[in-house]
Amino acid sequence: SQTIHQWPATLVQPVGSPLSLECTVEGTSNPNLYWYRQAAGRGLQLLFYSVGIGQISSEVPQNLSASRPQDRQFILSSKKLLLSDSGFYLCAWSDQETQYFGPGTRLLVL
């Protein structure tokens, strides 16, 4: 069966520091991959999606970037974190019909 992992689970970072969140999927090949940010009372906002290695599309302009160095690995990055980057980040994979979500990373920028 397929599983999706995210790490770290929780992260506290100072403003201006870099960020790297990792997401990996097991048990499937060539999945569509997605990064979301979840904010209280605002649902999930799609940040990036990828349909293959090296293919990244961005939904909203922001301080973040994404990369897909391997088929089942999706990375969310920032060179310099802002206070507004705090939030709960979810990774998801899709079997062309349904999206399945990881456990998320809670990021606090101080």
């Binding site: 569509n32 009372g41 999930l44 799609l46 999606y49 599309s57 899709s94 999206q99």
Partner: protein, 115 residues
């Protein structure tokens, strides 16, 4: 771009009460519809989905949802809730022809079931 509206942000009800959560979307073409649930401390997980066919779909844990195309709605229902149904519920919409599979989510409804 399509949008998804969930009518209630917070719902509090007693065990055995009936639950109905509203979801409306704004897109005139064919859509795929989803309800996800996030229990406290757990992953976001799929509750049910509609792609085509019978507009009344049944999901896990006794939930069901009805797609009413003329009203652009996909309301979630459960006849008798339990304390374990306390969670946040999200409606999501995908344009059926979107090969990227992108989902548009509603803001979510926090449901609290009291014993």
């Amino acid at each position: 771009a399509q949008s998804v509206s969930q009518h209630n942000h917070h719902v509090i009800l007693s065990e055995a009460a009936s639950l109905e959560l509203g979801c409306n979307y704004s897109y005139g073409g064919t859509v795929n519809l989803f309800w996800y649930v996030q229990y406290p401390g757990q992953h976001l997980q799929l509750l049910l989905k509609y792609f085509s066919g019978d507009p009344l779909v049944k999901g896990i844990k006794g939930f069901e949802a009805e797609f009413i195309k003329s009203k652009f709605s996909f309301n979630l229902r459960k006849p008798s809730v339990q304390w374990s149904d306390t969670a946040e519920y999200f409606c999501a919409v995908k344009v059926a022809t979107d090969s990227w599979g992108k989902l548009q989510f509603g803001a979510g409804t926090q449901v609290v079931v009291t014993p």
